[in-house]
C-alpha cells in the first residue's frame, strides 16, 4: 500500500531499547519538506513510545490516540535536521500505556511531554501484526530508508466566527483521501490527533494575533499544551467543528485558550493550549 510506513511514520531508527520501559531513536526530517509542524515532533516521540510498548506486547495491541499532558514546545523543526527521540514508559499493560517523551535537535528541546496516555487496542483492527513486526526489525536494525516522508496536505480550514479576546470557530474539512491515511492506519484510517492539534494551533495563533494591539514585529508560537484528549476517531472526509475560547492571560505575553473539536455535535477532542507572543524575534 503506497504510503504505508512512509507517509506518517516518524521513527527512522531505534538506537536503544528496553522493551516496555524506555527507548531512544531518531527521525531525519527530509530537507525537501516545506513544513514540518511542531506537533509532528510530538507525534514522532509518541510513535517511539508506541514501538517500545508494542514490541513488549508482541504486536497484539497498539496505542491509538489518547491523552497528551504537559506538552511543552521548544524550538521549531527545520527540514533537513535530525530529531533525536527518547521515551520512558511509566506504565504499560493490556489496557493502556503511560509515557513521557522528548524530541530535540542538536541537544535543544523541540518538545517535551509528560503523563501521556494511550489506550491499547487490538492491532488487527489497525494494521497487520506481521507487517509491524517486520517493520520493527528494520528500524531496530539498520533503520528505514531516509527521505520517505513527504509534505502532508495543508489544512482545509474555514473560519466562521472570530471575536477578538473571546473565541474563534472554524470548520476543518478532513480530506477524503490522503497518503497519510494509508499509514495511519492501513486497516482503519484515522485523522491523527497531532494533525488536529496543528489545526488548532493554526487558528489559536490567529485569535491571539487579533486579540491585542501587539507591537509591530510581534510573532506568535504555541508554547504549552497542559492537556489534550482525543475522545473519538475522526475518519476521512469528516467535518470537524473547531472552537478556541480565550481562557486567561497565563503570564507575561502568554494567553491560555480552551480548545474543542466536535464531530456531528459530539466532542471528539478537548484541551487547553497556551500561545506565546514574541516581540521583535
Amino acid at each position: 500500500m503506497q504510503g504505508h510506513f512512509s507517509a506518517f511514520s516518524l521513527v527512522d531508527r531505534i538506537t536503544e531499547l528496553e522493551a516496555g520501559k524506555r527507548a531512544k531513536g531518531y527521525f531525519d526530517v527530509p530537507a525537501h519538506v516545506t513544513r514540518f509542524p511542531i506537533s509532528f515532533a510530538a507525534e514522532a516521540a509518541g510513535q517511539l513510545a508506541a514501538w517500545a510498548s508494542m514490541v513488549h506486547l508482541d504486536f497484539g495491541l497498539r496505542p491509538v490516540a489518547g491523552v497528551a499532558a504537559d506538552l511543552r514546545f521548544g524550538i521549531p523543526v527545520c527540514p533537513g535536521k535530525r530529531l533525536e527521540l527518547e521515551t520512558t514508559i511509566g506504565h504499560l499493560d493490556t489496557e493502556a500505556v503511560r509515557y513521557s517523551a522528548r524530541a530535540s535537535i542538536d541537544g535543544v528541546s523541540v518538545i517535551e511531554l509528560d503523563h501521556s496516555v494511550g489506550p491499547m487496542l487490538p492491532m488487527e483492527g489497525f494494521d497487520s501484526p506481521q507487517a509491524m513486526r517486520e517493520r520493527f526489525e528494520l528500524i531496530r536494525g539498520k533503520g528505514a530508508p531516509a527521505g520517505r516522508f513527504t509534505d502532508v496536505p495543508e489544512h482545509d480550514l474555514e473560519i466562521v466566527e472570530l471575536v477578538p479576546n473571546e473565541r474563534l470557530r472554524a470548520i476543518l474539512r478532513v480530506p477524503r483521501e490522503a497518503l497519510f491515511f494509508n499509514d495511519h492506519f492501513p486497516r482503519r484510517p484515522v485523522f491523527p490527533g497531532t494533525m488536529l492539534l496543528d489545526a488548532q494551533i493554526t487558528i489559536a495563533l490567529k485569535l491571539a494575533a487579533e486579540s491585542r494591539a501587539w507591537p509591530p514585529g510581534t510573532s506568535f508560537a504555541a508554547s504549552l499544551v497542559p492537556d489534550m484528549k482525543m475522545r473519538a476517531f475522526v475518519p476521512p472526509g469528516e467535518i470537524v467543528e473547531l472552537q478556541i475560547d480565550f481562557e486567561a492571560d497565563s503570564g507575561e505575553n502568554r494567553i491560555m485558550f480552551k480548545t474543542a473539536a466536535r464531530v456531528r455535535g459530539k466532542r471528539a477532542g478537548m484541551g487547553t493550549l497556551e500561545i506565546e507572543s514574541r516581540v521583535g524575534r
Binding site: 490516540a65 489518547g66 499493560d93 493502556a96 503523563h115 496516555v117 475522545r231 473519538a232 480552551k258 466532542r267
Partner: protein, 142 residues
C-alpha cells in the same frame, strides 16, 4: 469496620478532589459533578475518559490504582465464569454488583445486563470509593 465498609464521611472527605478531577477530565463545570451523577449518561463520558480519570486520580491523590480495578473488585470472590456468561452478567453477578455499587439506584440495574455496560452505572461516588479502597490497599501494603 470491615475492609469493604466505607463511611459517608470518608466519601465526603475525598469528594471535592474527586469532583475537580472529574471536571478536569471531562471538561465540564465542577458544579455539575454531583455525588450521584452517572459519568456516561449525565456527563457524556467515553471509555477514554475513564482511563484518563483513573490516571488523574492517581496523580491527585498520589496513589496507585490498578487498571480495571472497579470491574475486578465488583466481581469480588466470584470467578469470571460465575460473574458473567457470554458477556451477560449472571444473577449471582448482578447480586454482587448491586452490593458493590450500592451508591447506584436500584432502577438503573437493568437485566439482562451486558458486562460491557457496567461502566454506565459508575457515578462520582463510585470513584470516591475507588480512591478510598486504593488508599486502604496502599496503607495495608505499607
Amino acid at each position: 469496620m470491615s475492609q469493604d465498609e466505607i463511611k459517608k464521611e470518608e466519601i465526603l472527605e475525598v469528594f471535592p478532589t474527586v469532583a475537580k478531577t472529574i471536571a478536569d477530565a471531562l471538561g465540564c463545570d465542577v458544579d455539575d459533578v454531583k455525588l450521584n451523577v452517572s459519568l456516561i449518561e449525565g456527563l457524556d463520558a467515553e471509555s477514554i475518559d475513564f482511563l484518563d480519570l483513573v490516571f488523574r486520580l492517581e496523580r491527585s491523590f498520589k496513589l496507585k490504582i490498578p487498571r480495571g480495578k472497579i470491574v475486578e473488585d465488583s466481581r469480588g470472590d466470584l470467578s469470571e465464569a460465575e460473574f458473567e456468561q457470554k458477556g451477560i452478567v449472571t444473577p449471582a453477578g448482578m447480586e454482587r454488583l448491586r452490593a458493590f455499587l450500592s451508591e447506584v439506584p436500584a432502577d438503573r440495574f437493568s437485566t439482562p445486563m451486558k458486562a460491557a455496560d457496567i461502566p454506565r452505572l459508575f457515578t462520582a461516588e463510585t470513584f470516591c470509593k475507588l480512591v478510598i479502597r486504593a488508599r486502604r490497599a496502599g496503607a495495608s501494603a505499607a
